[in-house]
Amino acid sequence: MAFDHESITREVEERFGTFIRERINPTAAHRDQTYSTFDHAMLREMGRLGLIGFTAPASIGGQGRTWQEWGHALEEIGYLADDSGLPMLLAYRETANNLVHYSGMNGRPHLLERYARPAVRGEAYIGWLYTEEKDVLELDTKVVARGGRYILDGCKTASTGGMSCTSWIVYARTEDGGDSMVFVVERDDPGVTVTPLRTLGLRSIGLASLTFEGVELTEDRIVAPHDGLSHGQIFVNERRITGASWLLGRMRSLIERVIEDTKPKVRFGRRLADFDTFKASIGRMHIALERARASTYRMLERVESQRRDRDYVHEELVPIAKYLATESALEVADIAQRLSGGHGYFEPYGIERYLRDFYGLVPIIGGQPAIETQVGDHVIWRHDRRLNARRNTEPKGP
């Protein structure tokens, strides 16, 4: 049975519509122009409304909804919100909060009360810090055990929401380099420096880089005592699922905006909206949207069937859906620029912001070139394995 998207549309409108229209949208352009993020009062309001904790278990105050429902809800939030940073940040935080819950349920129960519950209420803000300017399998950030404490040193390239985070899940290699550990680092810990990171788009997510200099951590800050790589993979996998769903809503909103923006325009004595070339351009935008939607919905359905085992790490549709949503969004934004003339290019009209924001998806959640390369590698690998298997089972000639 097809997923009932309409019921999610109604729910998002009823629960979050007023907040998004009255609290998010009027200040969206200001956040973009000043690189400012959502303040803690606004984040607490999101927690109270249920914009945070949508998929978190009821045991820590969450709503226990499915990834499929959350993916569809993010599309609608993306449609209503005139700030791409909102659904982007919500999708990210949801995954980080669930990772803390997962860690709490796997041998670190004190993390539930101290971090997971406040985060789901919207009263604490957890970031995830793995990435460095290195291959995914290598880390320079180092932790050294000294007299019952752990000393953390290193740098992390970028933290989504870092400017508003109250704590981070941080990955570091051990002294001998043979393993990696995971810790919670709090913003007020001595030796933590948070530096704002200016970006082309998605400015309201409050991106920041972090430096750790001799940060002393106690035993109770350990999230995973070893094998940080596998721990980090849980976050990465789940982040990919809904990381790009909201682009569908943003594309819908942009298409509608271009149509409305064009209505009063007259060129060569005719309404611009009556030109066949205009209609064809809107058609191309909609086709790009539907291409992304088909892939994203199919992926969400597939992931939901594997949710119990968290066994979607090998689900190739997940990075492919992210790839297609991003490319489609860029195509829609590019056409919007060309159709809108000066209105598209001038900042006050807000159309150029879509293009800048959509570029934010190119390097993250699996960079676009990396997805292309790895999908291609897998296709060739599977082709060769099938070919070799056939050769091995064919009867040998005389």
């Binding site: 793995y130 980090g232 790490v313 990075p319 959640i365 960079g367 997805i371 070799n388």
Partner: protein, 88 residues
């Protein structure tokens, strides 16, 4: 027998895609592989010595369930290791 590794792992096998090994079991093949390329061990296995979930094993093109370590291998068998698409 031969072990075939996918893209992400090749940097740990000196960029060799196919590695010929003398092994008669699945477990023996993986052990011989990490003995030849020690840098591969922490990438393939977690701290408890279990194969990380990001890797899948294929024997002659067929996906293997975990827990088949003692499975016998013939000299012509091909063991494939496919790693999930990476990047966060």
């Amino acid at each position: 027998m031969i072990v075939v590794v996918s893209g992400n792992l090749r940097r740990y096998t000196s960029f060799e895609q196919e590695v010929r090994l003398d092994a008669t079991s699945l477990e023996g093949a993986l052990e011989a592989l990490v003995a030849r390329y020690p840098g591969l061990r922490p990438v393939l296995y977690d701290g408890d010595g279990k194969l990380r979930s990001v890797h899948r094993l294929f024997l002659n093109g067929e996906l293997l369930d975990v827990g088949h370590g003692d499975r016998a291998l013939a000299p012509t068998d091909e063991l494939g290791i496919l790693t999930a698409i990476a990047g966060g």
